[in-house]
Amino acid sequence: MPAECDVRIRMYAQMARSRYFEEAIKVAYLEGKQPLFNMAKGPIPGEMHLSSGQEPCAVGVCAHLRPDDTVTATHRAHHIAIAKGVALNAMAAEIFGKRDGLSGGRGGHMHLFDAGVNFCCSGIVAQGMGPAVGAALAAKLGGSDAVAVSFIGEGAANQGAFHESLNLAAVWKVPVVFVIEDNAWGISVAKRASTAIERNSDRAASYGMPGSFVADNDIDAIYAAAGEAIQRARAGGGPTLIEIETWRLEGHFMGDAEGYRPSGEVAALQTRDPLIVYRQRLAAAGVSTAELESIEGRELRAVTDALQFARKSDYPAAESAFDTVFS
């Protein structure tokens, strides 16, 4: 299912929005943390896992999703949240720990919840897989054709929850798609050092479900593979496992010195930056520079506005920490 021209333009816009968001968050995150980096300081404290380079995975998959489809994501989730349509201002405010944030500052960057578009993410590796199976079963039992998508990193494919969830999804034949963003690293541990086979998509066979592999961080190929899987899921054909080769252009988290990474690896990946690659591809397909620039200007403004909104929002009242422990 190749993408139509307008879909490709929308995907480019989302990739750009996602990248601009990460670039803006990166700058804000480093405020108060220089020259001495201290995670506790500045307007955005705690760990910060940026998704720069991984936009194609989120955008190419979520292009097929509706608001009533569920997405569960990981600690590295900004791109996925944006692609799923999470409210950008409230998301930025959450990351700044503000009152107008998605959860009023309770969750932060690793715990973005937007019930309006059925999105959530988590700081525990592979935790979202079981809930995605549950959301898919609920859709099936409710007679809807909604699907669930669980995003994980390749490192998460070695967690018990991965294997249990795949089997459960297959046994129940529920409409769920498991998407592995293979950026080759789980913090400092290379995939080849932690995973006994080259491609996790081959593991799909053990659970009696289709598995596919998408090379090269190619958003058009991701769009096609995801489209097939999601269509199958909506039609009652059960789960699929997709592994996508992608790149982590930043450290595991901000402040990561990346001493474990072969020198030149990031520089080489940057020459294949998916945003630049896709821009060139669209230009070659006849999209004018003026149109691309207008998209870029619009997306950058949306991001700038979101961060401004976040900065202007007040901090939550201290007493609100006690609210919502129970519903």
């Binding site: 995670m39 932060g108 932690s194 422990v325």
Partner: protein
């Protein structure tokens, strides 16, 4: 030890360095000691607990694992049963949810179920604590969650000297020891570190006994009991209180299980006032256990024993929410004044 150490001979280490040194010396002394965990090889541990070990001992004994806590902690129990002495890292204590079975239903019960024939000399080191905006799945303490379970020993140093000595004791112990280290004390540049945790650490191997608290400041008027980070908060409060004429005795638990009730009892018998400072959740925790033990020792209280803890809510992300919930020296000072000036119970 600091008092008798001249500046020339002082080796002021962070807890991270002290832990790494203890593990390295144990590996030198005993080929059965090996290290497993996520990012403990080339990275030297996210919290610096295994610095330099891969280079010295190689990938056979310093093993980076997949993100498979159930499997590698279970494997550590198997290694221990086969006579090895594994030191395993669970990166954040919050992650225990994916592997608790191997810890509490397996490691903790090996000795008992085998009638003492199989032992489990395993050290599970894990980071605890918040205060730096890492939110509710990366900031918990969960001391009591582990200390509640028979068959597990649980320790936590407040300084590098104790870190090395407790680590050497833990590795030498025939039982599973959960070695907690507090992120606010660890000495990683990127986290900020309470300076009092960085102290002189002797080069040679020595043990700090498991199960023994330390009185880190003597005082007659009130007993402040802390662990890890809260020891430093209590010491800070004690300095302020001393200027007001209130002499606080500060006890560093050092071991959470088995808890040194005796040390607390001796102190409260004298002071007859007690505050426990614990950054874990309030209910059913270390603070309750310490106070219950003190009451059981039969103290004629001058004031009802009290506690300062994190309340029973998940750790929030925003500093505006998180910081007010944490124990602080100011809270200890305030409550100590109330207890000391509030008259008899």
């Amino acid at each position: 030890m600091t008092a008798t150490t001249t500046a020339a001979t002082a080796r002021r280490l962070t807890i991270a360095k002290a832990m790494s040194e203890a593990i390295g010396q144990s590996m030198d002394a005993d080929p059965k000691v090996i290290v497993l965990g996520e990012d403990i090889g080339a990275l030297g541990g996210v919290f610096g607990t295994t610095q330099g070990l891969l280079e010295r001992f190689g990938a056979g004994r310093v093993r980076d694992t997949p993100i498979s806590e159930t499997a590698f902690i279970g494997a550590a129990v198997g290694l221990a049963a086969a006579g090895m002495r594994p030191v395993v890292e669970l990166m954040f204590v919050d992650f225990f949810g994916v592997c608790m079975d191997a810890i509490y239903n397996l490691a903790a019960k090996q000795s008992y179920f085998s009638g003492g024939h199989v032992c489990c000399p395993l050290v599970l080191m894990t980071s605890v604590g918040g205060g730096y905006g890492d939110a509710g799945q990366h900031s918990q303490c969960l001391y009591a969650t582990f200390a509640h379970l028979p068959g597990l020993k649980v320790v936590m140093p407040s300084n590098a000297y104790d870190a090395k000595g407790l680590m050497l004791s833990a590795i030498a112990d025939a039982n599973p020891v959960v070695f907690m280290f507090h992120k606010a004390l660890q000495g990683m540049g990127w986290l900020g570190t309470v300076p009092g945790s960085i102290v002189h650490v002797p080069q040679e191997m020595y043990e700090v006994p498991i199960g023994k608290a330390a009185t880190v400041r003597p005082g007659r008027d009130i007993t402040l009991v802390g662990l890890g980070l809260t020891v430093h908060l209590a010491l800070q409060a004690a300095t302020t209180l001393a200027a007001e004429g209130i002499e606080a005795e500060v006890i560093d638990l050092r071991t959470i299980a088995p808890l040194d009730h005796g040390a607390v009892a001796v102190s409260v018998a004298k002071s007859r006032r007690l505050i426990v400072v614990d950054d874990d959740y309030r209910s059913f925790g270390v603070s309750a256990e310490v106070i219950a033990g003190a009451c059981e020792s039969g103290v004629d209280w001058l004031a009802a024993p009290a506690r300062i803890t994190h309340p029973d809510v998940p750790i929030p992300y925003s500093p505006a929410l998180e910081h007010p919930l944490l124990p602080s020296a100011a809270k200890i000072v305030e409550l100590s004044r109330q207890l000391c000036r509030g008259g008899a119970v």
